[in-house]
């Protein structure tokens, strides 16, 4: 479904990603981990079209989407959330989802919107101001909801569990598991917590200093000496 071929991103003299190659299959749930500044969000930006790499190719469903702008990739089926939730201001929760659905899929399906609201436990806040009346966990749920409303085939979740208290985190993890079972979409998730990522994903990729240093099952990856070294402060 998604294939990244030797992605390199440079910001001035800084290399944020260096020759990263990665493939994600249909309905796969993959964790993306790494220390701060490893290039995880930059990789999401490249996949979603927010950042243009200085080298490499991005294939989605075998099409080279490197030159496709962000809005086109969303319409193709690449949905994403942001680390800091970005609700659409001045709109209610329901209107946020409706805009996402209308522009992401080209049509409006009110039943699907209600289904997403219920699934994400946002039905009680559907007519509230999205930017002002939601808690952090509700804002994170709205981020997922907006992406879901675009009917994605691949969902990029950027630290969607970060900042949540333990109970909310557990509930959200359960929702994510159900989401995968219900909608059968591929998920690439950035998460710092090793325990969380191990329980959500069967496959984990590790970035460090912009390079992919490990790719395998959680057991394989988290026992990899290079990964342990990257987490305990050693460089690549």
């Amino acid at each position: 479904m998604l294939k990244l071929d030797a992605i390199t991103v440079q910001f001035g003299g800084l290399t944020a990603l260096k020759g990263v190659s990665l493939a994600i299959g249909a309905e796969e749930v993959v964790g993306l981990v790494g220390p701060n500044g490893a290039g995880k969000t930059t990789l999401f930006n490249v996949i979603s079209g927010l950042a243009r790499p200085s080298g490499g190719e991005v294939f989605f469903n075998r099409d080279n989407v490197l030159k496709a702008p962000m809005y086109k990739r969303a319409r193709m089926g690449i949905g994403r959330t942001f680390q800091i939730p970005q609700p659409m201001h001045e709109l209610t929760v329901r209107q946020n989802l409706l805009v996402a659905q209308r522009f992401g899929t080209g049509k409006v399906n009110l039943e699907k919107i209600e289904e997403i609201l219920t699934f994400l436990h946002l039905e009680g806040k559907a007519d509230r101001d999205a930017a002002q009346d939601l808690s952090l966990s509700e804002l994170k749920a709205l981020e997922v909801g907006k992406a879901l409303a675009t009917d994605p085939q691949l969902l990029l979740l950027d630290e969607v569990l970060a900042g949540l208290e333990t109970a909310s985190k557990r509930a959200f993890m359960k929702t994510l598991t159900e989401l995968h079972q219900k909608y059968r979409i591929s998920i690439l998730i950035i998460e710092h917590d090793i325990e969380t990522i191990s329980s959500l994903c069967r496959r984990v990729c590790v970035l460090n200093y912009g390079q992919l240093i490990a790719d395998g099952t959680p057991q394989e990856v988290f026992s990899n000496p290079e990964v342990i070294k990257s987490y305990t402060g050693g460089g690549a």
Binding site: S48, M70, R80, M88, E90, A149
Partner: protein
């Protein structure tokens, strides 16, 4: 309730105002001028509120619309209503030159479009063989006669500009409450938040620019046939930008009625009251009023009135309950 309010406004605009003020040419001229500014203010607010762009260059669209319409009627004999429409289309086409500036935001866009307005003023002056140069165009055909009624009269012009402004307000309202309007409003705070769900933000902004330019061009065309004279210093003067901006901000540019009420209040107060008290430099008071409004109600007059009336209504509703309890 909304329908009742709309009917009342229509009765006021098409019945009461013409009945009460017809015959008073001075007040009718001021009313026509204030509605002209209201039309530009609405077009400006559409670009600012929905497109998220602050323009200091609407005088360019006004000038282009007025010149195209005037030249179409004078040189090619095009009927005035069609020429006015072509004036609007011409202004929208002229706005294509601003498209590269859409990559800019905030003050950078404002400055780019200001420079653009100056370029058009220079073009209108230099292409003297077509535009009449700095000498301008005299004898521009007046607004036509319809069913024996002269629309070029003060009352006729009032009825036309009122209709144009109401049609624009209707279009603005429809867009504002559509999915496009939702997406456009959401773009203000984060364009990425909309692009990530499939919104082609640049296209939407460009469409708002075209529409805003079209509306302003139509108003410019109306004005050309109303005053029957044009020169570059008049048609492209900064006043066609600044007065609508002041009016829209004063009234509340994020509301539909704000720019309209703001224009009528600001221009009428200035011309009917301030000008007679301070004949020279009366605009200073307007500046001070705008400053006070921004300080005490940054959202403008209409949201302020809305809050006050809302509070009063709430108090009115509460009062009988309190009395019953007592």
């Amino acid at each position: 309730m909304k329908l009742q309010r709309l009917i009342m406004v229509l009765i006021l605009l098409y019945g009461v105002v013409p009945f009460v003020l017809n015959g008073n040419n001075y007040v009718m001229s001021i009313l026509v001028a204030s509605l002209t500014i209201a039309g530009i203010a609405l077009a400006w607010a559409l670009l600012g509120n929905l497109g998220g762009m602050v323009s200091f260059g609407h005088a360019a669209f006004f000038g282009v619309g007025s010149y195209i319409s005037a030249l179409m009627t004078m040189k090619l004999g095009v009927p005035v209503p069609l020429a006015m429409l072509l004036g609007g289309i011409g202004a929208a086409v002229a706005s294509i030159a601003v498209l590269p500036a859409l990559r800019l935001s905030g003050p950078y866009f404002a400055l780019a479009i200001l420079a653009y307005a100056h370029i058009f003023k220079i073009l209108a002056t230099e292409f003297a063989s077509i535009t009449g140069g700095s000498g301008g165009l005299l004898g521009i055909p007046a607004l036509p006669t319809l069913f024996g009624y002269n629309l070029g009269s003060k009352l006729g012009a009032y009825l036309i500009i009122t209709t144009i402004v109401l049609v624009f307000a209707f279009i603005y309202s429809r867009i504002r409450n559509s999915y496009y309007g939702f997406a456009l409003r959401a773009m203000h705070d984060s364009e990425d938040a909309t692009r990530v769900v499939g919104v082609h933000s640049t296209l939407l902004k460009a469409l708002m620019l075209f529409l805003s330019a079209f509306m302003t061009g139509i108003i410019g065309a109306f004005n050309a046939h109303y005053i029957n004279f044009l020169e570059p210093d008049y048609a492209f003067q900064s006043g066609w930008t600044m007065l609508p901006v002041v009016a829209a901000i004063f009234g509340g540019y994020r509301t539909l009625t704000g720019p309209l009420v703001g224009a009528v209040v600001v221009y009428s107060v200035d011309q009917l009251i301030l000008k007679s008290i301070i004949p020279s430099g009366h605009q200073i008071v307007l500046g001070a009023l705008l400053g006070v409004m921004i300080l005490f109600s940054p959202d403008g007059l209409m949201p302020l009135l809305g809050k006050k009336l809302g509070r009063r209504r709430a108090e009115t509703v509460r009062t009988p309950q309190t009395e019953t309890i007592c």
